[in-house]
Assembly symmetry: C2
Homo-oligomer: 226 residues x 2
């Protein structure tokens, strides 16, 4: 590999070591790719919204995370000056949005929603995905997705530290194909073909290594029999 001088300086034998200072010295794009890789694998979801005046929007979001099961809450981080801006605006207007798992059959279309389309363009039309309305829910689901959630905004918080916005929502609707959910409630997202993201642009399917029983201090780790 033909590393830049700034990267080469970080090599110490078999290890690379960056400090906050040497990270700062990297070219912007290199730094962005590197930092985006470091949290590990990310969720890959399409967030669907519709403005008060009926304009639809769809946006891939890699920052959705579980916040709590009781009440059922999810968080996501939105960058208000990025391609996320219409999503944020519309979910503020209506208080509703959908979360739709990206699966292996819709990766290209899902990634394409990250392009900076102008306001009057619906990413549904631009990418060939289909807006789908269910159960009087005001935000569009993605028809092609398999696991789909209708979300109601609970709280929107500006994070002063870097100007991003934390959106917290509660789960109002869960739609999923019969057969994916086990008796214990676990939903087999691998069987659903749900993909995971690394960095800014790498999409991955998964291979289960096992499920593990609830851990206790006085017991060695045990697999759940599958």
């Amino acid at each position: 590999m033909t590393y830049s001088a700034a990267i080469r300086r970080s090599i110490q034998g078999h290890t690379m070591h960056f400090t906050s200072q040497t990270l700062d010295a990297l070219p912007k794009r290199t730094r962005t790719n590197l930092i985006n890789s470091l949290s590990g694998f990310k969720s890959a979801n399409l967030v669907g919204t519709r403005s008060g005046s009926g304009q639809e929007n769809l946006c891939i979001v890699s920052s959705c995370f579980h916040l709590g099961a009781d009440p059922a809450l999810m968080g996501m981080i939105i960058r208000p000056h990025s391609v996320d801006r219409h999503t944020l605006e519309y979910l503020q207007e209506t208080g509703c949005y959908t979360i739709n798992h990206v699966h292996e059959g819709i990766i290209a279309a899902a990634h394409q929603t990250s392009a900076r389309y102008s306001r009057e363009v619906s990413e549904f039309e631009a990418t060939g995905l289909t807006a789908d309305y269910h159960h009087d829910f005001p935000a569009p689901f993605v028809q092609e997705a398999r696991i789909r959630l209708g979300m109601k905004v609970v709280e929107i918080q500006d994070l002063a530290v870097n100007g991003t916005v934390l959106v917290i929502g509660t789960i109002e609707h869960v739609l999923l194909p019969t057969g994916l959910m086990g008796e214990d409630g676990y939903v087999d997202v691998e069987q659903a073909g749900t993909v995971t993201l690394s960095g800014l642009d790498s999409y991955h399917l998964t291979r289960r290594q096992g499920r593990w029983r609830y851990a206790k201090p006085d017991r060695t780790p045990q697999r759940i029999n599958e």
Copy 2:
């Protein structure tokens, strides 16, 4: 599958449909498994801390997420009344913690750190993982991990909505094996064996489906040549 009555009522032909009301009617454990599955794949990280008095702690955290590349920030959600409580306490005392990617060779030990050990027990000793100190950083890294970050606390915020805590940290140190980082800065976390979590207890390796070029409105989706 022998679904409970509460689950059976959600089946509508080939689709299952839960509303916030029918979710509430599920047994607690079923509901917890279900909700934890719905955000999609999660990152799997070991968070290392050491108290002011020298007590070490290690805890698996599935809620680390990328918050921004400039400055380099990561967030994570901690439950202050759960097994996370020592982690939160110690990183508040010292302002430092480490994030260590879980890989396929340390899944059982990593999962075992989620057991509710008492304060005087170090999860390093209990699970056989090795605490490792580098570059005068006060929090312990996991020697067996391949991708390791030294983090400084920037902000700790209580989320009133459900009593969890959002910890925001900045990346002070990045340690990774030579050869994982590409010229463009992307770190191949799949090659590193980093795993991803689904639900509360399912661990997965990954299979890359491709990297995609930065999307533009006037261009069809294009793969990055690998």
